[in-house]
Amino acid sequence: MTISRLTIHELHELLIKKEISATELTKEHLDRIRRLDSNVKAYITVTDELALKQAEAVDKKLAAGEKIGMLAGIPMSVKDNLCTEGIQTSCASRMLEGFKPQYNATVLEKLKAEDFVMLGKVNMDEFAMGSTTENSAFFHTRNPWNPDCVPGGSSGGSAASVAADLAVYSLGSDTGGSIRQPAAFCGVIGLKPTYGAVSRFGLIAFASSLDQIGPLAKDVTDIALIMNAISGYDKKDSTSANCNYPDYTASLNKSIKGMRIGLPKEYLGEGIDSDVEAQVLAAASKLEDLGAHVEECSLPHTRYAMPAYYLIAPAEASSNLGRYDGVRYGLRVQAKDVASMFCETRKQGFGPEVKRRIMLGTYALSSGYYDAYYLKALKVRNLVKQDYDKAFTQYDCLITPTAPTTALRKGNNQNPLTLYKSDICTIPTNLAGIPGLSLPYGVDRNGMPIGVQLLGKAFTEPALLQVAYSLEQNTSLTRLKPNQGKGI
């Protein structure tokens, strides 16, 4: 048994039984990163000194007989759009290369309070815009299952680091599927929590009304443990929900007998790979075996979600990314006057996909187009939300594919429209602000992992975790590992 393969709760047992020290565990991961990350290329920054210091602190506590938290001493990775005090937070962009925030994102403060160990910052699509991590300004990350495939995106570094056992878990962000799709492509579990359940303070914004931080991990229990640590009201984020947060592990063991599960027909059929569809249906039928009632349902406005998303997200992004003007931090390209300095800085600092979305968003918000595009998109967003509201009067959760296909091949993802379609199953969730979980469920004809997605009403993460957990406990299809020989 390799310790790097273990989950948070398995490692926690070893730590408190003193069968392993946090330092040994951290060294093991740092060593793997040194040896193997040149194949995966998940990490932008490895914070080995910090990690060892954090691990040492946990060992001291253990030695002193103090009780430690579930996440204490467990090495993990952080997407590079989450602010880490004094550590480069680049958003995988030339624009923020060398940018070291003076503050931690709230999620990192919370993890710090849990004595976490941070191994480093991982790669992503520039400013979280993309589905392949090929939009990173620095380098491409490879899929640990097959180096010729992308890890998905934008949290590709997060998913790849967990899949390749270069981190026990990771924090990512999801604006239109950026946690769930890479989780599916890399065969790990990813949760996009309800909008407002996890503070966005310190998450470098892409589209503020859609962005949400969430965990990627190796099993369902780990996801619940991470949610226990990172969720909660934060007065620094006015969109954070001021309500009671559950113990996310509490419902895991409950039976799903009698649960009503919807299978939306709009998420199946045309455009969905047949292997993917087959596995979704297989998962649905497994749930029936376990006592749930599964039936087909309809979310009629699903097909309008993508065009609405590609107006709302770029519109917000065009505004959110305006601050990168070379005046205060990050890249500055000197020019003859201030307007030229703005232009040159933005021209050289942003990659093509970021520029494309800024252009799209600027256009959608321009006077004369606002009503036709942005306002209409908001109306569609409302309709999509209403579809879900209606469905959740009948169902406890919905089951769909996470992505229409398994991991895409690297290098031929130049057509943005084709790429945008790979988010078709995940985008509506963000528009509605509801939680979505991607769970691995078997592999396709090429041996690449398939993700099934569970969707629920706002703040019903415990129900999603319960369903995912019962699948995990009753099949061997959810805890998949890349073929180490073929992959990394």
Binding site: L96, F201, G202, T239, G322, D325
Partner: protein, 481 residues
């Protein structure tokens, strides 16, 4: 052709909150550049705004004082544009659902009473300040930016185009300033930039219903410049129209030293702000009982205060008008009045000596050294005959400078009124002796001579002699001669 001028105002008022609108940095003036800043007001990546509740409270209070409807549902929007003083490349403001709308101010000019509509009031954040190393941003070799002002809360008050003369505009601004000051939500000082006014001005032939094309004039930093700019713009637009030209819709800036306006930008390139709802802030929901609570907290407004001063204190309308134009003045008046009963005497002193000194020395009314109780004490000393009115002015000047008590000043400088008959008789003897001509004139029936002799005695006593006592003793002496 005869033209009618149509004027509306946009007034920015800086709210007097302790901290900024979306972070907890202090709003104090005068810190070293970039010392009142934090990651939030610097717009650093990943930071988020949190609304200062005091800003909402103050905006609602201003709205209530200006007779506005308060929106129970309003929201913030982003106004996007690039400028180095704007840390996020957008200003958080309110676009289509402002916190207050449909209010008014009643003003009074020589032409009578008039109601000026308030279209809306919205909340927004101020930007930073550029310090150019050359003259302007286009010609300077480099510019420095101070973000201490970034995120200071403002309300923008937009009037209806209801004003027809510079006089009305000045009256409107004076009333607005007084009302805002009364509510306590701002110092509303134009000279210090806590009240800033843009003027929208257009002309139309007398009798025409449609408005003409307007110019918006910015950068007005005193009531005087508002008056000047209005006259200048009327002349400029009349010249254009008379020579067959067309006024273009544009933003112009006022150059105080040159006394003229310059075009800043035309409409086409200014209005593309790509407003959209601020996704980082939830809508602002205000409950009816909260609005009522704030309404109950509002102090008496200038109009009501004026009426009360006239009816209860018996002041002339003119006096009441001058005193109520400034909250600080009213507060001073009220405080003196609690210690001293004669309202008219207080108002005479305030309008005469006090305002003369304040204006001459350019002192802020709420930075006065002289205290209301001291003022009351001074008036009592005059009433009791301990000092003369003339000496009182001298003592007042000293009190204004130093803030010392009138009694101390009088004692220290020996200014007590001389009513002692023995001392006065000696002075009278001397003056009568040295002015035989005047004595003869008096004896010959020229009563004017009496006044001259009294004056001479006053002079000799350095103003301290009690004039009534002198008069009596002098007449006695002259009649006995």
């Amino acid at each position: 052709m005869d033209y009618e001028v149509v004027i509306g105002c946009e007034v920015h008022v800086e709210l007097k909150t302790k901290t900024k609108i979306f972070c907890s940095c202090p709003t104090d003036f005068g810190g070293e550049p970039n010392t009142h800043v934090c990651p939030v007001c610097l717009g650093l990546p990943g930071t988020l705004p949190v609304l200062n509740k005091k800003v909402l409270e103050y905006a609602i209070k201003a709205g209530l004082a200006l007779n506005c409807e308060i929106a129970q549902f309003s929201k913030f929007d982003r106004k996007n544009y690039f400028y180095p003083d704007l840390t996020k490349a957008y200003q958080i403001s309110q676009f289509d659902l402002p916190i207050c709308k449909n209010g008014y101010i009643d003003i009074e000019t020589d032409k009578g009473k008039k109601r000026i509509g308030i279209t809306r009031i919205h909340m927004e954040e101020d930007a930073g300040k550029l310090v150019h190393q050359g003259n302007t941003i286009t010609t300077s070799a480099g510019s420095l930016v101070d973000y201490n002002r970034a995120g200071v809360p403002l309300i923008e008050i937009v009037s209806e185009p209801d004003m027809r003369s510079a006089e009305e505009v000045v009256e409107f601004l004076n009333s607005l300033k007084a009302i805002i000051e009364y509510t306590g939500v701002s110092d509303a000082r134009m000279e210090q930039g806590s009240l800033r006014c843009d003027v929208n001005l257009s002309l139309r032939p007398v009798g025409q219903i449609e408005f003409g094309t307007r110019a918006e004039i910015k950068n007005l930093n005193s009531f005087r410049s508002v008056e000047r700019v209005i006259q200048y713009e009327i002349d400029r637009q009349v010249d254009i129209l008379e020579s067959g030209g067309k006024v273009i819709q544009e933003t112009r800036t006022w150059d105080e030293s040159k006394g003229r306006t310059y075009s800043l930008r035309s409409k086409e390139d200014s209005d593309e702000y790509r407003y959209f709802p601020e996704p980082d802030l939830p809508p602002v929901i205000v409950m009816e009982d909260y609005i009522e609570k704030l309404r109950a907290e509002l102090p008496e407004m200038p109009k009501e205060k004026r009426r009360r001063m006239i009816e209860k204190d018996g002041l002339p309308e003119y006096d009441a008008g001058i005193i109520t134009a400034s909250k600080a003045l009213v507060d001073f008046y009220d405080a003196v009045h609690t210690h001293y009963g004669d309202a008219k005497k207080i108002s005479n002193w305030i309008m005469g000596e006090l305002l003369a000194k304040v204006n001459a020395e350019g002192i802020e009314l709420n930075a006065l050294k002289i205290q209301p109780e001291q003022m009351a004490a001074l008036l009592k000393l005059v009433d009791s005959g301990e000092i003369s009115g003339k000496i009182a002015k001298k003592v007042f000047a000293e009190m204004f400078e130093t803030g010392n008590n009138p009694g101390d000043i009088i004692k220290k400088q020996g200014l007590m009124q001389i009513s002692d008959e023995t001392a006065l008789k000696t002075m009278i003897e001397q003056v009568v002796e040295t002015n035989p001509k005047s004595v003869e004139d008096y004896k010959a029936g020229k009563t004017k001579a009496l006044g001259f002799l009294v004056g001479q005695i006053m002079k000799q006593s350095r103003g301290q002699a009690n004039p009534a006592v002198i008069n009596r003793l002098l007449v006695e002496k002259l009649n006995s001669m």
